[in-house]
């Protein structure tokens, strides 16, 4: 009997949605379209290798220190996502969206995203919505996409380095499959697929933005929203609310995945169910997130993101070295 039970749900869609969100919430573009497309295969290879190495090493050499570091990384990432969304919302609706409101509206749905089935199915729905919203947005600005906007200046090594730097961010989504080798996704090469889709989506978005903005692209704040604001497909003059709606939901989903991972890393488990996070720690989680957001509200999120990226690479390196040593010592002992 085949039946879609909780054990068969995959978290790949949730991880992918979280990874794509990183491009959507970016405050500025990171590279020129051509350089991005050129460096994409290399970036995918590097990120996939890092993800695969981390997963392999985590299975062999995880310990309490690594789990604590990974938990801290996820907690910091959660706070950063909340801050990024708040900054975006505050830029779009000045004076009406407070940080508390963003925290409440993003963290409240996490209560209902405690099960693998909820996370997985919700991610499927949100990905479908994202696809539809992207199509609507592209259709609405199709008339303003000009091929002549593509920059034709010769590429320099610095452009390629910038693209590689921007694409080479080791998002926690690339490390998370190590925690759930059975549930992260059906099939093989999960890190490769994740890295591939993420980098391709980012490069595609940059291409569209360059077709739209031309030489002005690098200086634009919240470029995707700025592009959406000019859409005039339907009776609605602007589509930014629709994007903000969808992106808020994606942030909630992303934080739910992080919480699910953090609870697992801390050894917590729901009573009677191994596919759900218990509610007993939720108030603590909510209060901690709110407090951290309040403390960091004045911080430079761009700089924090750089620190987070560095921390992710350091963690991946540490775990990789630890796992490699274990493998070497284990092989030697054998």
């Amino acid at each position: 009997m085949e039946k879609p039970t909780g054990g068969e749900f995959t978290l790949f869609a949730a991880l992918l949605a979280g990874a794509l969100l990183n491009t959507l919430l970016a405050r500025q573009t990171g590279y020129g379209a051509r350089a991005g497309l050129l460096m994409a295969p290399l970036s995918v290879a590097v990120l996939a290798a890092a993800g695969w190495m981390f997963a392999a090493a985590w299975q062999r050499g995880q310990n309490a220190l690594y789990r604590a570091l990974f938990t801290a990384l996820l907690a910091l990432s959660s706070v950063l996502e909340l801050l990024r969304l708040w900054q975006l919302a505050a830029a779009l609706y000045p004076g009406t969206v407070t940080l508390t409101a963003v925290c409440v509206t993003v963290l409240l749905p996490v209560i209902y995203l405690r099960r693998i089935s909820a996370i997985s199915q919700t991610a499927n729905v949100l990905l479908c919505l994202l696809l539809g919203a992207t199509a609507v947005m592209l259709a609405s600005i199709a008339g303003r996409l000009q091929v002549t906007n593509l920059q034709a200046a010769p590429l320099h090594p610095a452009d390629c380095a910038r693209a590689l730097w921007a694409q080479g961010v080791l998002w926690p989504e690339l490390l998370l499959p190590a925690l759930w080798p059975q549930q992260a996704g059906r099939g093989r090469c999960v890190p490769l697929r994740l890295a591939g889709y993420t980098v391709a989506f980012g490069a595609g978005a940059h291409l569209v933005l360059e077709l739209f903005f031309g030489a002005a692209m690098p200086g634009r704040q919240n470029p995707l929203h700025t592009a959406a604001q000019s859409g005039a497909l339907s009776i609605f003059n602007r589509l930014e609310w629709m994007q903000l709606l969808l992106w808020t939901m994606l942030v909630s989903l992303k934080l739910a995945v992080y919480l699910y991972a953090m609870v697992g890393l801390c050894g917590g488990k729901s009573r009677g169910e191994d596919t759900a996070v218990g509610l007993d720690r939720y108030p603590l989680y909510f209060a901690a997130m709110l407090l951290a957001c309040v403390l960091l509200r004045g911080a430079d999120t761009t700089r924090l993101l750089l620190w987070r990226n560095a921390a992710a690479w350091v963690l991946a390196g540490l775990v990789g070295i630890g796992g490699g040593l274990k493998w070497l010592l284990g092989a030697k002992a054998a």
Binding site: M1, T5, A101, T105, V106, I111, N124, W241, T248, S252
Partner: protein
């Protein structure tokens, strides 16, 4: 209290026990008699059991019998075995069994010196005939509904589902009233694991009273915070039969004209019998309209509040001017205005539903006039708010199975959107979505076949394909496989 103490062998002691139990009840009836040489007594409750039936079944037989056994034990064995009479096969040997049989409307024959009583199915309960369905409007298909009598409901199912694999198991719930319920399924189609799990869970339920199959629903839910129902309900035997063909289990409770179908999926609430009688294209269009109606019922008022209060740029300029003019004339902010109107509409609906039929229409009329005309004229509410609230209320009725959820979700969305704007609307939408996605009735996807998108989504999900495709594949629980997911 009766227990599993054996029945006394002496007739006098058995009658004394019954007298102690039911002696003060006016409808309890006993009649001492002598069958041949054996002292005996008939016991039953008048009104739910017929002494005439007993007379026809048993006494005529005994009167014409050539020779009756001379002692009570032998007579009981003869009645239970060789006698040409339709007695219950198992003898009544314990006090609690005796009480239960009498409560079920059976006539019980007590025999002196036996320690066994013989029960006869002489039920004759007051009941209404098979009615026409009132809550599920369908133009085509059978026009009969379940009634309050359990056996009649099972008969209605068996009449339409004429296969040897249809199984109807009857149990007694652990309630003060010892209410009976039936678990009906097709043993060739229903997954054995689902049936066993369901029976186990139902057997473990302890409630003081069981008046409807919906009482079980809360106990079958995995996540108590989830507002979506884990089961579907129908008053139509035809719909129940269709669900049985899908491998689902139907639960009937004595005294309730509603059948519960488990596991229940989200898409089921948008399906009707007419969908399958109409043409596929029309049925698909109607089904899509119902999904749109549900979305309007839940999100319409909240979206309006959000647009007016936080994101006026999404409203076309001409419409925005009219809305602004209307809102300026009212004293309340849009969120409170929408909440007030929605609440009043619900109060009117509830009053119309609960009031005696003779004044129900008056209540609705007065409510509609007060809210619709007077409130607008007095400038308490604006016309756009009233229009949106009324549209949402009407849209709710397009999917009556999700009425409760529509109302609750609507209020939540209005409050969230009114308080937080776009993020609030996103919050409400995601909570509803996560509830639907997180529900796993008996381990199955609640959103099947809608999500994840696959062939089944277009075969019998958002739309319905033609019967040739439906018949070729069928929808049977437990066979939702990877092939369906495309």
């Amino acid at each position: 209290m009766p227990n599993d103490t054996p029945l006394p062998r002496a007739l006098d002691e058995a009658l004394a026990f019954l007298q102690e139990q039911f002696g003060q009840s006016a409808d309890f009836y006993t009649k001492p008699m002598r069958l041949g040489t054996v002292p005996a007594a008939l016991a039953l409750f008048t009104g739910i059991s017929s002494p005439e039936k007993f007379t026809v079944m048993v006494l005529d037989l005994l009167k014409n019998a050539d020779a009756l056994p001379a002692d009570g034990a032998a007579l009981a064995d003869w009645l239970l075995g060789a006698a040409p009479v339709a007695a219950e096969r198992q003898p009544v040997t314990a006090q609690n069994d005796l009480v239960q049989k009498l409560g079920n409307g059976m006539a019980v024959l007590l025999l002196d010196g036996s320690g066994k009583a013989v029960a006869f199915s002489t039920q004759e309960m007051p009941q209404r005939g098979v009615p026409a369905p009132e809550g599920e409007g369908d133009m085509r298909g059978p026009q009969e509904a379940f009634t309050e009598t359990l056996r009649v409901n099972i008969a209605l199912l068996r009449r339409q589902f004429r296969t040897g694999t249809l199984t109807a198991e009857i149990f007694t719930a652990s309630t003060r009233a010892a209410t009976e319920y039936a678990v009906v399924y097709d043993k060739a189609l229903a997954p054995a694991a689902v049936v066993q799990t369901l029976k186990k869970r139902l057997a473990g339920i302890r409630i003081p009273v069981l008046l409807d199959s919906a009482y079980f629903a809360s106990f079958l839910k995995q996540d108590k915070l989830n507002l979506f129902p884990a089961a579907a309900y129908t008053e139509r035997p035809a719909t129940a039969c269709a669900r049985l063909c899908e491998g689902k289990v139907v639960i009937l409770v004595a005294g309730s004209p509603q059948a519960m179908v488990v596991p229940g999926f989200f898409a089921e609430h948008f399906e009707t019998l007419d969908d399958y009688s109409s043409g596929a294209v029309f049925a698909g269009l109607i089904r899509l309209l119902k999904y749109l109606a549900f979305a309007l019922a839940v999100f319409g008022p909240g979206l309006y509040v959000m647009a007016v209060s936080f994101a006026p740029e999404i409203i076309p300029v001409q419409l925005l001017a009219k809305l602004a003019q209307a809102e300026q004339a009212t004293p309340l902010p849009p969120v409170l205005e929408m909440l007030s109107v929605t609440l009043l509409l619900e109060i009117v609906r509830e009053a119309g539903l609960r009031a005696p039929q003779s004044i129900g229409h008056t209540v609705s009329l007065v409510g509609a006039l007060i809210i619709g005309q007077t409130a607008v004229d007095a400038g308490i509410v604006s016309v756009p708010v009233l229009t949106m609230a009324a549209a949402a209320t009407i849209a709710t009725l397009a999917v009556p199975a999700l009425y409760e959820q529509s109302i609750l979700f609507r209020f939540a969305v209005i409050v969230l959107a009114g308080a937080f704007g776009v993020p609030g609307l996103a919050c409400g939408a995601l909570i509803i979505l996560a509830m639907a996605c997180g529900s796993e009735p008996f381990g199955y996807d609640y959103l099947y076949p809608l999500m994840p998108p696959g062939k089944a989504t277009w075969r019998d999900g958002f739309v319905r394909s033609i019967w040739q495709y439906l018949a070729a594949r069928g929808e049977v629980l437990g066979r939702h496989g990877k092939a369906d997911r495309g």
